[in-house]
């Protein structure tokens, strides 16, 4: 039996290492998505054609996906609350519901929205707007899928009341993915 080194428990930053690590992941993601969205805004403001191309995106699908992500974020934070209360099975249930939200989001995007747009002739190489659209939405969707996979790994252990702190950590990541979509939605679907 050995004690965990101090670095795995609490850092000089005043919080547990895992939470600090997730905040650093989020910080690095801000630069990735920030660069992408910043570039989009520059082009959107200087090219009128962007508004015409954006008119072809389906606002209602974007809104439904926003509702799905907001609801999954609610489940994620309720899972955190249950984990804090030491109720692993309940936390796991909320994690599965959050993952279900992610799967619905990805299902709508990859199973309906993108095939529809491609069938209408709007592909990643159609023009600069659609290149941004598929790149930004694609990178975001990859984060959604990654989050779902992590939740499905964490949930079984949480159900046995093990490593409950991970419920909070994946929740932090998931809320960030939600925040990114909150900005992508008006940029790609509303500002026409």
């Amino acid at each position: 039996m050995s004690a965990s080194p101090i670095a795995t428990t609490r850092t000089a930053a005043g919080m547990p290492t895992g939470r600090l690590a997730v905040w650093w992941v989020i910080a690095s993601e801000i630069v990735i998505f920030g660069g992408l969205l910043g570039s989009y805004i520059m082009f959107r403001l200087s090219h009128d054609a962007f508004a015409e191309h954006a008119a072809h995106t389906n606002t209602w699908i974007g809104a439904v996906n926003t509702l799905v992500l907001l609801t999954s974020s609610l489940f994620a934070v309720l899972g955190h609350k249950a984990a804090d209360a030491g109720d692993g099975p309940k936390a796991a249930k909320f994690l599965y519901l959050t993952a279900l939200g992610g799967l619905i989001f990805a299902g709508i995007k990859f199973g309906f929205e993108w095939p529809t747009e491609i069938a209408r002739g709007f592909t990643i190489s159609s023009n600069t707007f659609w290149s941004f659209y598929y790149t930004a939405a694609g990178i975001h969707a990859a984060h959604v899928v990654g989050g779902v996979i992590i939740m499905l790994i964490i949930a079984p252990r949480a159900k046995r009341n093990l490593d409950l702190q991970r419920v909070e950590l994946i929740g932090l990541y998931w809320h960030f993915v939600d925040v990114v979509w909150i900005f992508l939605f008006p940029l790609l679907y509303i500002a026409k």
Binding site: T17, I26, A27, G34, S39, L45, T71, H175, I182, F185
Partner: protein
């Protein structure tokens, strides 16, 4: 085998977050979503701008404060996130003149300048012409 293999949480996580009324926050977020979708129906660009991006900022704030609990995180986190947002602004300030302007000091975009000249010479014909 670690000392903490069977502990519900790792050391350091014992201090629990204060949990508010999350369903109420979610309901507010959903109402804001409906407002942002309804904005363009008014047909006014300024209204759309406010309902789309103003509300996006409010929604992001609500999620960060109430779901991510950024307001009770150590100040380190606020500095970290603030620094990254400043990097974003720096990138935008540095790159936007090259992207958004047609001419600058010792450089120009010939296609943009030609399109502008065409628009000035033949306003009707150039209507609907866009840079891309």
């Amino acid at each position: 085998m670690s000392l903490h293999d069977h502990a519900p949480v790792e050391p350091g996580y014992e201090e629990h977050t204060h949990h508010g009324n999350y369903v109420k926050i979610w309901a507010i977020l959903v109402v804001l979503l409906f407002v942002s979708v309804a904005g363009p129906f008014f047909g006014h660009p300024v209204v759309t701008l406010i309902t789309a991006f103003g509300i996006a900022i409010v929604k992001a704030y609500l999620v960060a404060k109430n779901f991510m609990h950024i307001n009770v995180a150590p100040r380190y986190v606020a500095y970290l996130i603030g620094t990254m947002l400043m990097f974003m602004l720096l990138f935008f300030a540095g790159a936007s003149p090259d992207v958004m302007k047609s001419t600058g000091t010792n450089w120009m975009k010939p296609a943009w300048v030609a399109a502008h000249a065409e628009a000035v010479a033949h306003p009707a014909a150039a209507h609907g012409t866009h840079h891309e």
